[in-house]
Symmetry: none
Subunit: 411 residues, 2 copies
């Protein structure tokens, strides 16, 4: 069963609003093994909606329209559905009665346009709206299921959950969909792709998507089978090959973020960490403390933007900065060792670099970052040259630092 979602509403074609209902619907449909193949956003415009709805009927087994069911003139979904399907609109007495009751209950007279909501295309079943006035609609036409849902998310979700899900379960072809996400660090997207290609290009089930997400690469697998167990087995089969191809660059297989993985290792190994950072400005500390319970492994950090603070907060000697420059291997190293000693953490991390846009030289360009890590086994320091703007350089640098911690505590 292939599904398609059409979100109707002119506000969704402004710069201020996204169609978020489709995320909810996609999650629920996927769990039943139903894939969403197209999502379209169209304004409150009869002609344009007609065209989009017509195309959907021709290519999808299940078409869900959201929005456009309210009482006002620009709510056109009922009329357009009736017209495209060639069915007249008929008034449903029960809906009318409920509308009148509802208005009586809140002591308001019902504006006449509310009666539009009692009109349904002939043969449609109407779906009770427990959170609002506009009923939904369920139609079957030439083998295609068509569902019209109200736009407000809490109305849509209540209606979908209580009425649509049980029905869709009955007609889902038994197919189940399961997903797995491999998160990878330390390899560019093109290399991830090349390494996994021998396994993934031969596989249509699971299907694979590779994407870059804030400094990491994600490999998404989606498998479909008759049962969740079988789908999981398919995921495991391809997943093993992917893990073999990417090795220890894979840091997460169940959606955990890099900082969560680092936190887990630190807790497991009963280690603590402290961070002295310059160009990342607190980002590494901030990421580590996103993790609930981080107080058990994160002691604290120093954001040493000025040279003086590198000396005062991380015990880096002024002479060392003078001799090498603030952005240098020895200073990164001294920051890592200094913050470790200062705080008594098992692991100290030092980061210094040039995030730009200003401050770069031919010798030390924007993007040059040194990351150092110190523990009882010694101090390591790495040089990076990150491309991109200030935000990206800071993101990459934070990923590099977290990854160095991961590698240090894993073994």
């Amino acid at each position: 069963v292939d599904a398609e979602i059409i979100a109707v509403g002119s506000e969704l074609l402004t710069p201020f609003r996204l169609d978020t209902n489709s995320l909810y619907l996609t999650g629920k449909l996927n769990a039943l093994g139903i894939e969403v193949r197209f999502k379209t956003v169209v304004g409150d415009d009869r002609l344009r909606l007609k065209e989009v709805f017509q195309a959907a009927l021709e290519r999808s087994d299940l078409v869900i329209l959201t929005g456009g069911l309210g009482p006002t003139e620009d709510d056109v979904n009922r009329e357009v559905a009736a017209e495209v399907l060639g069915r007249p609109l008929v008034e449903v007495q029960e809906i009318r009665r409920r509308l009148e009751e509802r208005f009586a209950r809140i002591g308001r007279t019902m504006a006449g346009n509310n009666l539009r909501q009692a009109q349904v295309p002939e043969g449609a079943e109407w779906l009770d709206n427990t959170k609002g006035t506009a009923p939904g609609l369920w139609l079957e036409h030439d083998g295609v299921r068509i569902i019209l849902l109200p736009g407000p998310p809490h109305e849509l979700e209540a209606m979908f959950e209580s009425v649509c899900l049980p029905r869709l379960e009955r007609l889902s072809d038994g197919q189940r969909l399961r997903t797995r996400i491999y998160k990878v660090v330390g390899l560019p997207e093109s290399e991830v792709d090349q390494r996994i290609a021998p396994a993934t290009t031969q596989s249509t089930n699971p299907a694979t998507t590779v994407l870059a997400v804030s400094g990491a690469i994600e490999v998404h697998l989606r498998a479909r089978a008759a049962t969740h167990q079988e789908a999981d087995a398919l995921l495991a089969g391809l997943g093993d090959k992917i893990e073999a191809a990417l090795g220890d660059h894979v840091f997460s297989t169940h959606g955990e973020s890099l900082e969560e993985v680092v936190g887990m290792y630190l807790v497991m190994k009963q280690k603590t960490v402290a961070v002295a950072e310059s160009c990342t400005g607190g980002l590494v500390s901030e990421r580590l403390t996103r993790v609930p319970g981080s107080s058990s492994f994160f002691l604290g950090g120093a954001v040493c933007y000025s040279d003086e603070l590198k000396t005062r907060l991380a015990a880096v000697s002024a002479a060392l900065i003078e001799a090498n420059g603030a952005v240098s291997k020895p200073v990164a190293q001294a920051m890592a060792e200094g913050i470790r000693e200062w705080t008594g953490a098992s692991i100290g991390v030092g980061i210094t670099g040039i995030a730009g846009p200003g401050g770069g030289t031919a010798d030390k360009p924007v993007g040059l970052v040194y990351v150092s890590i110190a523990d009882d086994r010694g101090t390591q320091v790495r040089e990076f040259r990150f491309p991109g703007d200030r935000e990206r350089i800071r993101t990459w640098a934070s990923v590099a630092a977290l990854e160095l911690i991961r590698r240090r505590v894993r073994t």
Copy 2:
């Protein structure tokens, strides 16, 4: 001129990802008076994309495809465009040369699949990608403008801004759309709404949207008129009323972030700031250092997660913590004063609180946060009780801290 946006990427058809590029593009197009009539999301699937692209060519004057330009097998936009338009793919030597250069510069060998990015449909102009490898494409075909842009937002935005906007400006028709964004802090959304309602409900041009965005409330105005000047005059008319209604809660009228505004004031007043933070874990330092040039006003910060580090990094006495608890007014105050003295900054900020999910008590529940600010005029401390989860509490706390700095330096 009517535009249509097609976002390509299977990940956009999962429950995990929304097409956010379309918001940026819609904003920019609207500013030129170009309305977006359809947005479609389709997977990395040749046949389905072909169908959607074909339909777009028939109904729109401007078709923008996003994503699908990378080096991997599932990046199909180049091929599909070539096929639908009936043009062969040809290799562009200049793109190839640049790709090779780029890889040489970062000291990596180029995987062969990267060469796919040098293939363009015959007659297409390629658009330089200053932030990544995949070039964009600009085509004209039977009177329709077709633009292919890379999916990563920072690449797309840089390319659109520098190359596409100037060209589109030349084609746009008389109507001009202008927007203005008022950013508001310290008032709940419902109160913002109530205060501005007398002005906004009578106005259809400009149209108004109110929305909550990461700890601030934004009021968006959109005006259309024959010229930018006239549209701006409409914006100014309604804008004056909105500013009067919201007073000094408005911190930004031209899109600046709260940290940018704070940075501007600090530079203007030649003040420096240092931050000692606990529950925000570095977020306030991180936000301040997002601002390019922040080294001129931000000296540094201490992330004092453990009580001991509050003593060592921010000079908070152990006795004070013992007597009041780490989450208390006196400790926040001592952190602000301590970090100020330690660093020699004009302004010291101290933040301590309980971000959750654990660590709350009946007396000191999750969401309790103290923010203190110290300068030569004295020390101020405020208590907050924020709702929501860990992430939201940290965001609110960082907004509260930045807002306290803003109010202190503004006067």
